[in-house]
Subunit: 561 residues, 2 copies
């Protein structure tokens, strides 16, 4: 099933001038993102990206574009995703790439593409930047799933272009990048029709595609450009983006130092401990001089600490997930001044409703936290003297599977000053919801509104280890006598457990209670897809994924499980 023992390392760095597969064109308040895949530009050797099909490299560029559209182009109120190739929008994920990829690679690739598509919906919902899919040719598989992540789907009526989900009939896998879920839950396609559609490799077109709600509109070829522009203009007109006067923020390349033992950024540091199978992540809080005006925040731009830290953390999560599969436990710490962290906190709170940039930063931090939630690594927060788990940064701890807090000071330690403290702020009660729609505190105390209400009374207070334990904010709060042993044993135990069982367990515990379309994509859909990916019927030597394009039919174990 695995062709390479070690998958190549992945970098997520890119910028529009370096894109090989996308063209980003701006036209007033409308941006056009044109897919123009370079066949020879695969991220990994062994396949050609024919028919505008994509691999992780193509999607890394798409993610970059969506981020820049939000931060660097405040005037953009509608984004049209279309193809630069005639009669072919996108054929989806490259099949040869999937067939040659290891299981972890496939799973990680699907997770990242899912996150990018969720981010597009997030931009539509929270940034006044509405995505439209202008399908100027056939959209198949992941190509149609990309369209499904848009707010509107327009299809050219040229008697040949279709929308299709051919994964089940051709490849023996699922349309796992949200396809099955969005067709029913977002597009509201009747489920028996969804069944027909997902088993018909040739897809649907024209009037029937509209009638089945698979697309919003079919547009004659002669009126195509004009109508797409009209629909984009109408979407832009409904937006609450600040408009043409605003100035965007450039996102310069991240400064990053990589060694064999870790990755360092300005505000985030990761140290690998390969023998123990873990990585120690430290997020550094802001240093001094907290800006208190929107003007100053805009002047700082990408150097404004919350944005800079979030970008670094985002990059780190993506790199660790893709490249460090055997570092199964992530220890998360913060370091800095609690007051400074809270000063930033207040800026975010004060301006996120009125300033587009502060709003973007809030939602970006929210999305990065969501990445943590679906990261298949054990996440452990260590809350020690000198940390600044306050407000937004406390969310990092709440995203973890467990929280350990030192009660008091280390007697022989180097730490000076005060014992560890955590501080709740208003932003812990809804500013950064999880994909299940709940705040991390509401998930933690699911069904126990009384406790959540009590915690609300505690905002602003510096909470000690003993009090945090009492309030249920931490899993344990050992004193200095027990701290080292307890943490060490806990980490050793964790490292001894089955990595797969941990992944499944964490994916269940982290998302309690209600599900949303987004959380369903990661639970019901992704979990089934991952199961199918490891089954011989898909990935075995005679499986559908491996046999595709060879002229030989797949041979199936016909037992239904």
């Amino acid at each position: 099933m695995t062709t390479a023992e070690h998958d190549p390392d992945v970098s997520f760095d890119t910028a529009p001038e370096r894109y090989r597969h996308w063209r980003l064109d701006l036209d007033g308040d409308v941006a056009y993102l044109r897919l123009d895949v370079d066949e020879a530009g695969g991220l990994v050797p062994g396949y050609e990206l024919k028919m505008n099909s994509y691999d992780l490299g193509v999607d890394i560029e798409l993610y970059d574009a969506t981020q820049r559209l939000r931060f660097s182009h405040p005037q953009v109120r509608a984004v049209v995703i279309t193809s630069a190739k005639d009669r072919n929008f996108c054929a989806g994920a490259n099949i040869r790439m999937l067939a040659q990829s290891s299981h972890p690679w496939k799973v990680n690739f699907c997770k990242f593409t899912n996150e990018t598509r969720n981010g597009m919906e997030d931009a539509t919902a929270h940034s006044g930047q509405t995505y439209l899919a202008a399908l100027n040719g056939t959209a198949a598989g992941g190509g149609y799933e990309l369209a499904l992540a848009c707010d509107q789907i327009l299809l050219i009526d040229d008697n040949s272009s279709t929308v299709a989900l051919p994964e089940v009939p051709l490849l023996g896998v699922l349309p796992g990048t949200g396809g099955l879920t969005r067709v029913t839950d977002k597009r509201r396609v009747r489920k028996d029709r969804a069944d027909v559609f997902a088993t018909r490799s040739e897809g649907l077109r024209g009037r029937q595609a509209v009638e089945w709600k698979l697309v919003d509109e079919v547009i004659p070829k002669r009126a195509w450009d004009e109508t797409v522009a009209e629909r984009a203009a109408a979407a832009a007109a409904r937006s609450n983006r600040p408009g043409s006067g605003a100035r965007g923020v450039e996102l310069p390349p991240l400064e990053r130092t990589e060694t064999a033992d870790g990755i360092s950024y300005r505000h985030v540091r990761a140290t690998f401990d390969r023998s123990r199978g873990l990585v120690e992540i430290t997020v550094f809080g802001p240093e001094g001089d907290v800006p208190d005006t929107v003007q100053r925040i805009h002047e700082l731009g990408a150097a404004f600490w919350p944005l800079a830290m979030t970008r670094e953390l985002d990059d780190l999560i993506l790199r660790l997930r893709a490249n460090e599969l055997e570092l199964g436990t992530w220890i998360i710490r913060t370091k800095g001044d609690v007051e400074d962290a809270l000063a930033f906190e207040r800026v975010i709170e004060r301006f996120s409703a009125t300033d587009w940039l502060v709003n973007e930063i809030r939602h970006y931090f929210k999305r990065v936290l969501k990445r943590l939630d679906v990261t298949s690594r054990s996440l452990i927060a260590l809350i020690e003297p000198g940390s600044c788990f306050a407000g937004a940064l406390l969310e990092l701890a709440m995203a973890c599977d467990r929280q350990y807090m030192l009660d008091g000071l280390m007697e022989d330690g180097d730490e000076e000053g005060e014992p560890a403290q955590v501080v709740l702020s208003d932003s812990n009660f809804g500013a950064f919801p999880m994909s299940n729609g709940l705040s991390r505190l509401a998930s933690r105390f699911y069904g126990d509104d009384e406790t959540v209400g009590k915690l609300r009374q505690e905002t602003g207070r510096r909470i000690s280890g003993a009090d945090a334990l009492e309030l249920g904010l931490v899993t344990d709060a050992p004193d200095d006598i027990d701290w080292e042993d307890e943490v060490r044993i806990m980490l050793e135990e964790r490292a001894s457990l089955s990595p797969d069982a941990l992944t499944g367990m964490e994916a269940n515990h982290r998302f309690v209670g209600p599900e949303t379309m987004e959380s369903r994509i990661f639970s019901r859909l992704t979990a089934w897809q991952n199961w199918i990916f490891v089954r011989p019927n898909a990935s075995g030597p005679d499986g559908a994924l491996r046999r595709f394009g060879t002229g030989r039919r797949a041979e199936f174990d016909r037992r239904r499980v």
Copy 2:
């Protein structure tokens, strides 16, 4: 991974006098179900059922007991599940059984045990028959999961008995019979504590188990019997069951004829077509003489058509799922008089709120429909002349992935009389909810309340093929010229697809929109468990499940996926 090429055939027939593993004792309005597993009584050779551990055979008896408690013992208002063995409640699913089982067997076993536990919760919620777990010894793994399905959990305080979910640390699999989900979603255990609990093989006991909400109460050994009886009496006193005056209905053995080509019952018939990989199921409607009094229904008892048909259908579903893995498509037909079907329909509607037996029948049919919903086979309804898809029976069609209805009559056919018709009744709008909490119509038209509202206006009308197509009740309605070819081609296409991809696709499409704790158990939890089951870290020769008890540690691929 598979030790046997073909798993042994399973029968679900049993009765209290034949139980090898359970003792059912009645004490007024309280029943005691005592687990007393016969070590030598495994359903399959190769393992001993030590420590009150269970296999499918033990759970078949439990299911039988829960059904009889509902139908044969109307006076029972509380059911105490406990152990007949000292200091040992139940060690969960037998590990050697799991280790030697094929993947389909494990998955099917888990599904059935999940359904039985959901049925216990259904009895507590809808039959006034509250389940209490009286843990007179350690409840580990599936043993504790059985307790979680009860409304209250009482634990003996003997300084040794614990509750535990040791699956992750000991076996490298999940507590997949609802464990992870119920701990957080039902018991409302804080998720970081749930994480600690599910990784601590020795579990918790005493005060801490109460504080963490894992059990409701710990009871000193000396007061055990008395306190359990008190709690059961209190639960019984809160019940709305009819009380001691009511007479139960015996559930005699099903009359069933099995041949190489099928299974026949009085009201249900299944014909196998192994070459095409399908089974044709026909449910026969009631014949004549529809009782219109509660008295007559009680006199008929198990012979009353809705109950008789539901029992037969239940048995058929279970047998096909367990024994006929390669029959991947189930064609579902009905045959009978529409008026008769609706007459029964009205009886159910009139009396289910007031009569305990009619209420039981309604909820039983609901549970059997839910079994269909989670059955990993393609379900196709064929609606032909002479069928009686009306009201409750129409739910059978709505549970299918697709519905095909002949418009008009077959020109050369044997069928006399009227063309095929379907009839909506009030019971299609909520009497038989799916596990996502929605009716099948509301799921079908998810997000389209207007159409559901319109359909409500159509109740009682005989709807033709063309009209059913127009109303969205069927996927297609070919006329007699196209019927045979269209159905044949559709079935051939279905049979050619990857069985695994179909399972994943159907599991997504059937459950649209919201999730409940019950649906989450089958989606998030089960899908992850099935993934883990096929991974070498659990089921490979060096995996945790196979290595358990050998004295050798599992060897894990440490890559996190």
